[in-house]
Amino acid sequence: MTANPRVWWLQFRQELDELWVGGKALNLLILYSVLMSITAFLLATNSELSLTPPRTMIVVTIQSAISFGLFLGLIIASESLSGERERATLEPLLLTPASHRQIILGKFLAALSPWPMAYALTIPYVAVLAQGDLALVPALAWGALLGTLVAIVFTGIGLVVSMWSNSSRTSLFVGLLVYLATLLPAQLPGEFQSTAAGAAIQAIDPLEAVRVFLRQGFVDVRPVEELWPLLYAPVAVTIGVIGAIFLSSGGRLSLTAGAPRILSMVARRAEGVGEHAT
């Protein structure tokens, strides 16, 4: 019996069923909508006091949508494989001749699926807050593009963490730490952000780079040509994460997660050196 060449599609559909019919994705979208409603309400209140111009509100809303939206993929991906290990549903999957890389691809795409829905939910909020500003459509388009990039990054990080974890709690915790770490640069003092070190951190952190790109592009109205360097980090990290998934899933997925293969190899080599030394 030959393995199905479209395993990724089968897995994708199976995961979609579990996510959407099972209600997990819907629950996360409800939470997302609540957060977006609070954000929009606060911005609208400021607007009534003439404190925040429409363009700033567009950018802040899109920035919030990206920050909250990428978290959906991170949560779902973080517990995808570790959760299957906990529920003892991974073993039958590993017992089939299906390609593990395709299984991972199916899971990855399914974990990414709430992002477009979340972004679509954002559009009415931004449209109301824009108050007819012409920046609405291009800002939404750039937000969709950049948001998709960082959603891929964070979903991918969640998946890689999940591959190496036996517990969904552990992988969720690690995913949350990564998420918080990327939010840190925005909390740094303004003086530090204007230094070379601050600029470097902003350039490395894909989420911060996207936030800065949107602010400078639509609030400060700087030409896109000047902003290209800000996209290096998101693009490079996206490629890096996809590469990491590709490499990680290249070997066999294991029933019990262990250290990454490269670490195991280093550990074995170190043991070998130790044995020779004695």
């Binding site: 019996m1 030959t2 393995a3 069923d17 579990e18 073993e91 017992l95 001749p97 299906a98």
Partner: protein, 340 residues
Amino acid sequence: MQHAVAPPAGAIAVPAATEPILVARDIHRSYGTRRALRALSFSLLPGRVLGFLGPNGAGKTTAIRVLTTILEPTSGQFEVGGISSEHPDRIRRLIGVLPEGLGFPRHSTGRDYLTYFGQLYGRRKADARQTADRLLADVGLTARGDSLIETYSHGMRQRLGIARALVNDPQVVFLDEPTLGLDPRGQLELLGLIREIARDRQAGVVLSSHLLSEIENICDDVVIMNAGQIVAKGSVAEVLGQASQDPARQNSVRVRVADLSIAPAESTIDGLAGVRRLDTEPGGWLTVEFVDDQGAPVHDIDRNRVLDALIRAGIPILGFEVAGGRLQDVFLQLTAESIE
């Protein structure tokens, strides 16, 4: 089993029934410094059920995981249907597995679950759906095929798990503790199903279980493991014979009488010459140990004297067996020796 699932295109031909379908040679598996499997070697013919027995921690599950390609052996090799363990992807197409404590998706129906796995093994959707329906009928779940798996009882889930293990028409089926947690009726039904899998499909079945009496009834061959190594193997009769060669085991018989007859039976047996000890066990069983004449086994005539005396005393005999003649006795004896 009413239906035989036609092998899909590309299936590898089943070797002749005289050739082993599963051969394990000197397999070792360690976890760090702990040796979980040592020198595991055995073979299995098509259409036969092999019981994998052993106390907790004996290495049964590790052995099954190695033989099903989930774990790599530290050393040694095995073949399934003539395919070497160096080709795990090809082996996975030939085996079906019901792992211990198998989990199921929460929001899938039994039919969709089997269809999905059929497709993973390369069946087209219509074929996979047809196979799912046949397998549901085989395991008696047709009426619940469209219900969510989360509404299934434990026994129904085990049967669905067996159906999933058969979805690729495997040559060897591994079942790890399939009767665990089932009520007696569920255990009997499942064991009957396992017997049918071997008989109707001519598949080799490796059955890991703690239910020794049931194993004794449905298994053709037995491998008894303890502390990661095999302590006995062969056909059930061979393994039983291996233990009954022990003279000490042949010096006892067990007789079962009705509760009301226990006291008269005790007094009758006590009066017999050559009886060294008499123990009463729950269920009306009396264990009679004869005088051990310098390690020589007691002659059959001595055993018959017990029966003769009870019959003459008018005591109805409900059961009789030579102590050590059951798989449970062999299991306890061999695993205890190994521990010592």
